[in-house]
């Protein structure tokens, strides 16, 4: 099952066999089960999957934000700018958090501290990592608020989170992440909680900020639309594992793994004539109840006996593409199933 990735020299971040376990009343579960991927400098990788597939947890492992009862297993390795984050002493890890790698969370309402003003929370990042005085940190915070598109930033900086709108609060989060110009941005579903119009603005803001600083970004989302617009490469996660990885255009053109194919089919396309969207039968099984072999087998349209016996490895397809499915070795089975499916619809 181990991936055969060789760490490309210029990768900013590379995860190898990252595994996270939780001890619960019903025994040990591993919601993140051997995840590996790389992000090159300046590149945006989208991590896609339905909720509960472990993508947010994976993001949290990068800055070691997993707290009890969760545990990052020994075998995992996370290399950030050549150093393994999991073995870093606390002081060094803290100097990376917020300065070299910064995170943006999904729910702006609860992610900002309700009793400190927006400006204070941004200034805190500056004062934590630099010797800046209080007033210097404040001016940089106000400047940053302006940079993320907040009007009259000096007034807004004094306001508390509950006095700001959802979009504005997320801009504060983004300002907090960008203020020290990190080389890696980790955005955990940054726009899910917002209305579509604000989503587009924030995604543009993120992309411009990223390109301006040459930073790379790990974008966690379940919205393929966001993926298409913002990411260069995509990794699809299902039941704690990466099931397919590919450049964006290649993935949208010809998805290899049946799950990716299902996701694509379930996405409404402008101009398509189909009235009903095809859905993937069944639901994502909870971590404790994953099928033994291929975890997608019970919902896969092409599944055959081998899928329920032998767990498919992550096949390398060349051009940076991978797929965790036996169809790679027996493409013929894909053709037959599509025919019957076509006839039925």
């Amino acid at each position: 099952m181990t991936a055969t990735h060789t760490p490309p020299t210029d990768a900013l971040l590379s995860l190898r066999d990252v595994r996270v376990t939780f001890r619960t009343a019903d025994g040990v579960i591993t919601p993140v089960d051997g995840v590996s991927f790389d992000i090159a400098r300046g590149e945006t990788l989208a991590l896609v999957g339905e909720s509960g597939c472990g993508k947010s947890l994976t993001a949290l492992t990068i800055l070691r934000l997993i707290d009890a009862p969760g545990r990052i297993e020994a075998g995992s390795r996370i290399l950030f700018e050549g150093r393994d984050v999991l073995t870093l002493p606390d002081k060094e890890l803290r100097s990376i958090r917020g300065r070299q790698a910064a995170m943006i969370f999904q729910e702006p309402m609860t992610a900002l501290n309700p009793v400190y003003s927006a400006g204070e929370q941004i200034a805190e990042v500056v004062r934590t990592h630099t010797k800046a005085s209080r007033s210097e940190a404040w001016t940089r915070a106000v400047a940053m608020l302006g940079a993320v598109g907040i009007s009259s930033p000096d007034i807004r900086a004094k306001q508390f989170p509950h006095q700001l709108s959802g979009g504005m609060r997320q801009r504060v989060m983004i300002a907090m992440a960008l203020v020290l110009g990190p080389s890696l941005l980790i955005a955990d579903e940054p726009t899910t909680a917002l209305v579509v119009t604000i989503q587009a603005q924030l995604l543009d803001l993120l992309r411009e900020a990223q390109q301006a600083r040459g930073a790379s970004m790990l974008l966690i989302t379940h919205d393929l639309g966001v993926v298409a617009e913002s990411a260069q490469r995509v990794a699809v996660m299902y039941a704690g594992q990466i099931v397919e990885e590919a450049p964006v255009t290649a993935l949208f053109a010809a998805p290899q793994h049946p799950y990716t194919e299902g996701l694509m089919a379930a996405m409404p396309r402008a101009g398509s004539r189909r009235e009903r969207l095809t859905t993937i039968p069944g639901t994502v099984p909870p971590p404790g109840a994953w099928p033994l072999a291929c975890r997608f087998a019970d919902r896969c349209a092409y599944a055959w006996s081998r899928c329920t016996i032998e767990a498919p490895p992550l096949h390398q397809l060349g051009h940076g593409r991978t797929s965790r499915c036996h169809l790679v070795e027996e493409p013929a089975r894909r053709v037959a199933a599509q025919a019957t499916a076509g006839a039925a619809s």
Partner: protein, 331 residues
């Protein structure tokens, strides 16, 4: 501003309600102001009736209430028959002592309670957490008078460290320098305050611990960690700071029981405060003094709870309406 005016109006209504109810209730109790003194004096009922008339304590409750309201309008709380002085002077003598006792106790109990709650939350589920929990609870489970007596006997009799009750050593020569007087006051304050703190610290520590555990799981704590802020700072600035609100709000609500609880402590430690003044006034059927004490006590409570709401609103700006965090009742 509107909210403040409304609060004051609510406070006024509460005070009026309590004062009227006490005025009537205390007169319904059998016995009269001059009966309690010397049980077999030749103070025949006829003489007592004459004395009651002299101090305006005869006649129907209605007329007495009218007289009292009229004198209240002039700022006169009436005459105290058991302490033979105007009620206002008796209260003016007692109130500072109670504020000193309760004020010091609250400050220390809150600081100690908040700190213990934090220590418990930090070491959640561990031995320290359990021990502190049990010890503070025992302090809360012991009857007030019993604890007061044990503290008195231990502190001033077995250990001979502290004076036996009282507010100050009044036999000190008048010319004594202020450090001597201050030290004397402090020595008198130690045992009663220690007793009250032991009684108060358990509920504060428990609530602080629960509120803190709740806040430690909050999103913004994780954001702060992700910003690279040091663990201790995250705990203090981001978790603890937001967990103070409910504790302060509870303080405001628990004020009345402090005045009540002080009855035991003020009696055992011979502390001339409001609790003892009111209890002795009730025993002596000193109608005007009882109503006076309750009136001033309620004003203190109303001011106290308003203060507590302001502090908790300052602590947590989200509390805009009436001091309760929407959606999150008091644990």
């Amino acid at each position: 501003m509107h909210a403040l005016i409304q609060r004051i109006w609510h406070g006024f209504v509460v005070i009026a309600l309590v004062a009227t109810a006490t005025f009537v209730l205390v007169r319904l109790a059998p016995g009269d102001p001059f009966a309690a003194a010397l049980e077999n004096a030749r103070l025949t009922p006829a003489l007592r009736e004459q004395w009651r008339a002299a101090y305006g304590l005869d006649g129907s409750i209605g007329t007495q209430f009218a007289h009292w309201i009229a004198s209240l309008a002039r700022g006169d709380l009436g005459f105290s028959t058991s302490t033979n002085q105007p009620v206002s002077r008796a209260i003016a003598a007692a109130l500072p002592n109670t504020l000193l006792l309760i004020g010091t106790s609250i400050v220390i109990a809150f600081m100690l309670g908040i700190w213990l709650g934090a220590v418990q939350a930090a070491g959640r589920g561990g031995i320290v957490d359990r021990c502190i929990g049990a010890i503070t609870l025992i302090g809360n489970a012991v009857p007030d008078f019993w604890l007061a007596l044990v503290m008195l006997l231990a502190g001033s009799y077995w250990l001979r460290l502290f004076p036996v009750g009282g507010v100050a050593d009044l036999l000190l020569p008048l010319g004594a320098s202020w450090p001597v007087l201050l030290l004397d006051r402090a020595r008198h304050l130690v045992l009663p305050v220690l007793t009250m703190v032991i009684l108060l610290v358990a509920p504060i520590a428990r609530l602080q611990r629960t509120a803190l555990l709740d806040r430690l799981g909050a999103e913004w704590v994780r954001t702060a960690t992700a910003k690279g802020v040091a663990r201790r700072t995250v705990f203090r600035r981001h978790a603890w700071r937001t967990a103070l609100g409910p504790v302060v709000t509870m303080g405001g609500i628990a004020l009345p029981s402090l005045f009540g609880g002080a009855v035991f402590i003020e009696r055992v430690f011979a502390w001339p405060g409001m609790g003892r003044l009111a209890a002795e006034a009730v025993a002596a059927r000193d109608y005007h003094l009882v109503v006076g004490c309750v009136l001033v006590g309620t004003v203190m409570v109303v001011i106290g709870s308003m203060l507590a709401d302001h502090v908790s609103a300052w602590l947590d700006p989200r509390l805009t309406q009436d001091g309760f965090e929407p959606g999150r009742g008091l644990a």
